[in-house]
């Protein structure tokens, strides 16, 4: 059984039944799932979680479904990699990569949120799912939706990376490219969602969908041996992942599964689309909209839905923010690949670059533990680094050619 009491407005606390709604009718605040934590406390233990499935559904008691999960049985529970070489390179003692570049089945953290969103959509009786996406979500909704036998309408900006388009089309959804940027796609989808009775995972199903991101934080805490790190660097687009990682840590703390949370949460954004990071760094009250211009297309949201909440979570945690240029993003991707053997997409390049900066600036102390959140796979954004990589050496199929061209050139 589930422990959802209903939905509650984050702004005015008005309560609603757990339906496919996402906005408070009275103040336009965001609706959030309200759980019966007292009941959860009675049943949830570390042991119960540890004996659960090797997927995000091991945290099912803290996820917003009533019945059994129906989608995403293999999603989540990705490796937490001890990153010794990168730690040495950056000059910190204890560094980990939480590696969602290998999340099943579409290689990004969006498999988590979609597993929850589609399980909920089915529970609510929908036969059609939809989303506005910068690419990773498009892949995840298309794939999980195919497995679940749902009709799918996927909306993306017209200029996405080829691999994200192809990695959506292969699952045979209805893919619609919109002549505009992500913020345009998002506005259009809000209007479509108001008119058609579909389960838009990041619109009318968003309160449930977003809860899936908590599992990223739950796993970090469990995999570190039931503790949270001193620092966690997280990329931000809408800001939702960051907000939910923080919520996940605080839920574990509230339920006594871990000790007091002393993690400083840091927000990483690309130059050319950093409205949340800029508000944090300038201590501004308002999040100022931007028109995105960055190679990190999965982070290119100029009007971030959870911007204010992300800023508040960072401030509550005592963290800060950092901004990475396109060049630094490419360097970040290559640094992670050559030290840890992990190939991440541009968003991961942002996170690595910002972690590096925060360490250099002394905002992350060298003797503390750090987790870098890697949310997507580099095979999807190859265009971004193509021109920065050296080529292969081409030789004739002869020993002589090998010795002349390879051995001699590598001695130089």
């Amino acid at each position: 059984m589930g422990y959802v009491k209903g939905l509650k407005c984050r702004e005015c606390a008005k309560t609603y039944p757990a339906e496919a709604i996402y906005v408070c009718e009275f103040c336009f605040g965001s609706l959030e799932v309200d759980y019966d934590y007292e009941a959860i406390r009675k049943v949830l233990t570390r042991k119960k979680i540890e004996s659960g499935p090797s997927s995000l559904w091991r945290y099912r008691d803290l996820l917003p479904i009533n019945g059994e999960p129906t989608v995403g049985f293999y999603s989540g529970f990705t490796p937490l990699v001890k990153a010794n070489r990168l730690a040495e390179e950056l000059g910190v003692r204890e560094l980990y990569i939480k590696d969602d570049s290998v999340c099943h089945p579409t290689l990004s953290f969006k498999d988590r949120v979609v597993a929850v969103a589609l399980s909920k959509a089915k529970e609510l009786g929908f036969d059609t799912v939809a989303c506005a996406s910068t690419g990773n979500l498009a892949n995840a909704v298309s794939a999980h939706g195919a497995w679940a036998g749902l009709k799918r309408y996927i909306f993306i900006p017209h200029d996405l990376e080829q691999a994200k388009v192809l990695g959506t089309l292969v699952y045979a959804p209805n893919l619609i490219t919109v002549r505009g940027n992500y913020d345009d796609v998002n506005r259009l989808c809000s209007e479509i969602a108001a008119k058609y009775n579909w389960a838009f995972v990041n619109i009318n199903i968003r309160p449930y969908y977003a809860e899936g991101s908590k599992t990223f934080g739950f796993e970090v805490a469990e995999q570190l041996g039931w503790r949270t790190p001193d620092h966690l660097v997280c990329p931000a687009a809408s800001g939702s992942l960051l907000v939910k990682i923080w919520k996940g840590f605080k839920e574990f703390e509230k339920l006594g599964l871990i000790g007091p949370v002393k993690t400083a949460l840091h927000c990483a954004q690309p130059q050319g689309c950093s409205p949340i990071a800029e508000a944090i760094l300038s201590k501004s009250d308002a999040i100022r909209l931007v028109r995105p211009k960055t190679i990190a297309k999965s982070l290119a949201i100029g009007n971030p839905a959870d911007g204010y909440y992300a800023r508040d979570a960072v401030n509550a945690s005592g963290g800060t923010a950092g901004i990475a240029s396109d060049e630094e993003i490419v360097e970040g991707i290559q640094l992670l690949a050559k030290t840890e053997g992990i190939f991440t997409e541009t968003a991961g390049g942002v996170t690595v670059a910002v972690a590096k900066k925060l360490i250099e600036e002394g905002k992350i102390a060298k003797n503390q533990s750090v987790v870098i959140a890697i949310t997507g796979n580099g095979l999807k954004t190859q265009e971004a680094i193509q021109s920065s990589l050296g080529g292969a050496l081409e030789i004739d199929p002869q020993l002589k050619s090998f010795e002349e061209k390879v051995l001699i050139s590598s001695k130089l």
Binding site: Y22, V23, A132, D183, R187, S190, A194, G239, L289, I301
Partner: protein, 91 residues
């Protein structure tokens, strides 16, 4: 001719379930006042206690975010299309 206004689901109870209404107004601020005359109570939903448009409300004039234009003072003319959209979506 007048201005077409798309109404989001959370406000449609006030517009007798209509997803699109028409109004005449000289700018965004005035539009909200005019809507409030036809659909009493709508202003309190869109604006906070100081009369400013809530931070979780996005208003688009011909597909452009009003915060990129002249905000509440963004001028309107006959034939314009305005869309009121909750900000908590996407990502």
């Amino acid at each position: 001719m007048s201005i077409k206004v798309r109404i989001p689901t959370p406000l449609q109870k006030l517009t007798q379930d209509r997803a699109e209404v028409e109004a005449n107004a000289k700018n965004v601020q005035d539009l909200i006042e005019q809507l409030n005359k036809s659909y009493p109570g709508i202003k309190d939903r869109i604006c906070d206690e100081n009369g400013s448009i809530r931070r979780f409300v996005n208003i688009f004039v011909n597909e452009e975010d009003f915060r990129f234009l002249k905000k509440e003072q963004t001028p309107l003319k006959d034939g314009d299309e305005v869309s009121i959209v909750p900000a908590i979506a996407g990502g």
